[in-house]
Symmetry: C3
């Protein structure tokens, strides 16, 4: 049951090292604290080896990458791999610029990622890229809908097989898969797309969920995705007519803060394919 | 009517590239989403050409400039000019340090700005600077008040004439002018000055308003300034005694999220000189 | 009385230069505005000398340090010392990485800090470090509790004597000391630890409190610590069952915004040892 997964996060208080963008970093930190984890941020090449060593997981997000932070990503990722830590890649904007695409692909070549989480467009970019992901058929629709679901599930399983990573594609319908099993998740609300950084927040939280549940990596990823979506549903219930995306942002983080295993078990909407 | 302007933003969903400070960047992103636009942030010189190319507008804010982001500002600005995108300059702190003043003036020499938005002190610094703005009479009061209004209106029109940019000076009374026409805007509340970044938020939103209304650049700028001020008035109505600047920040962004053309038309307080 | 201290902040509107981390910088800015101060952020080596010169205080926080910002810390600190400004060090993560520890100790060697504020673990790292702090007995418990209080008070006074700085150790019990006098403060709530950056916020606010009260540096530091803790208590009173750490963050900043001298005098819980 997914409920146990979040209870384990609250028990184990996993420490997560984040190399993440400066746009949504504060929300990532507060979401990690909300779910029961603990955040550390560092993107200085000379600092990251020490910092990642004292953590249980590493969340790499390329949202506002720069030459220095890219170096830090490689150094921290290598060290985290040596220590067999959980390592997540959030390839923000892969496909939107050559630097972002190449950085994401370069990281995938050198670092073994436990999980890669992005939207369908970013993940397709990685799939049709070079290196370890070469050869995956990314000829899948640009949105995961009920109509395109079958081919999207095939695609995400195949990509997981090629990369060895859990793949999480988030959108109106979320897919979380390893090579054999795909969680099709229908939590969340469209209004979440009007808040900056719900994806970044999820990546941070997902890392914490996996650190606290090392023997159930796929379920942990699915539990994090369900938690985020369900928090979006719960937070929305308390919205008043004059509220907007700024209040909604707060309510979602608050809902994660108050999420327990029972609420998650009851509210998670998923099927396994 | 200004109401149409914001309706166009919601229809067109303009994508805005922001090279902005890390203090208020999250609020800038959420305000862009609130008004119907879409934000991308990138300040890495190697990344910005690609990113700005897929956008409709570029918002350059020098609030926490550094050597690398300054390079990115020149590169992105040049590319945005080539593509005839909307480009805005927010010269945060011009006059407070040589680097900020020189960067703002240097950018004005090399890049053609659709709009320059700042407070009176920053804009006066640019006017009395060197380069393209040389020769503008900046001997105007340090605050735009009813008493100093006539000379301020003359100053802002003349500066627009010299620079070729729409000039927006925000304060207790806001001025938005091209060389012939000046909107004198009396929306807003003094308490907005107790929140960090309402100016930065406005610059992001103003860029989106112009991208979505390319044939009415001056009106679009005025509409953005009215929207920000009116949101400050609406947000304040819902403040309780125990609320302060943090809640006020949320309420302003929420009010922008809920702003429609009718509300803006009714609430905008301006005269044209 | 501590109440006068905050009233002086509201009267004098101290301008504080912050070289701080990008995780909590927005909250630091809003807390400075909430308490009556005014924030400027700059971490570019070429910019900081000018910026710090127009301020009354400098808040150095090493939370997301990088090679460039470290340079800026030395340059700004040196200039602030020449101008006899208030200078505060927040050694975030000292002890967690060699770079952080060495940067904090290096800064302490070259710059005279009015105040050093951190948690017990960070402060112990500095005390047992090299340079000016060498020789201080850091053999104190890892948490300040009623049991370990006597030795912690001795430790913090001795460290203040060696460094010449006011030392503020924050935790369940807060200690604020010079070499002769230690405020033992029991404001605050444990839930504040579930919000990112309450420590960073306090460091910014503490700097402003000292700038506005240059003749009462120790009391000013104690007043800032009491204000933060009391705001945590007041903010918590308004929390509803569905609220969490994101709303709590807003309520604490709001409570600082509404804090007056009388409220602080009534609510401050401290003894002097």
């Amino acid at each position: 049951m997914l409920g146990e997964i979040i209870e384990n996060v609250r028990k184990n208080k996993p420490l997560v090292h984040n190399i993440t963008n400066y746009v949504t970093v504060n929300d990532v930190a507060n979401v990690l604290l909300a779910c029961g984890g603990s955040p550390i941020m560092s993107d200085e090449p000379e600092d990251v080896e020490d910092i990642t060593s004292i953590c249980g997981g590493l969340n790499i997000n390329i949202g506002t990458l720069n030459q220095s932070s890219i170096k830090a990503m490689y150094i921290a990722g290598k060290r985290a791999n040596e220590l067999k830590h959980i390592v997540l890649l959030d390839p923000v904007g892969a496909g939107a610029s050559a630097l972002r695409t190449n950085t994401a692909l370069g990281l995938m070549e050198k670092i073994s990622f436990t999980t890669i989480r992005g939207n369908i467009s970013e993940i397709k970019t990685l799939a049709s890229g070079s290196g370890t992901t070469k050869g995956v058929d990314a000829d899948v629709a640009d949105e995961v809908t009920e109509e395109s679901l079958d081919s999207a599930v095939r695609f995400v399983k195949e990509l997981s097989d090629k990369t060895g990573s859990v793949i999480a594609i988030t959108g109106a319908i979320d897919l979380v898969a390893d090579k054999e099993k795909c969680y099709v998740i229908r939590n969340g609300r469209g209004e979440m797309g009007r808040i900056t950084g719900t994806g970044c927040q999820l990546s941070g939280m997902l890392t914490a969920f996996q650190v606290a549940n090392p023997d159930r990596l796929l379920e942990a990823a699915a539990a994090a995705v369900c938690t985020m979506g369900l928090a979006g549903e719960i937070g929305f219930k308390y919205m008043m007519d004059t509220d907007g995306n700024s209040t909604y942002r707060n309510r979602i983080i608050d809902a994660i803060y108050n999420m327990d295993g029972e609420t998650l078990n009851k509210g998670a909407k998923f099927e396994i394919r």
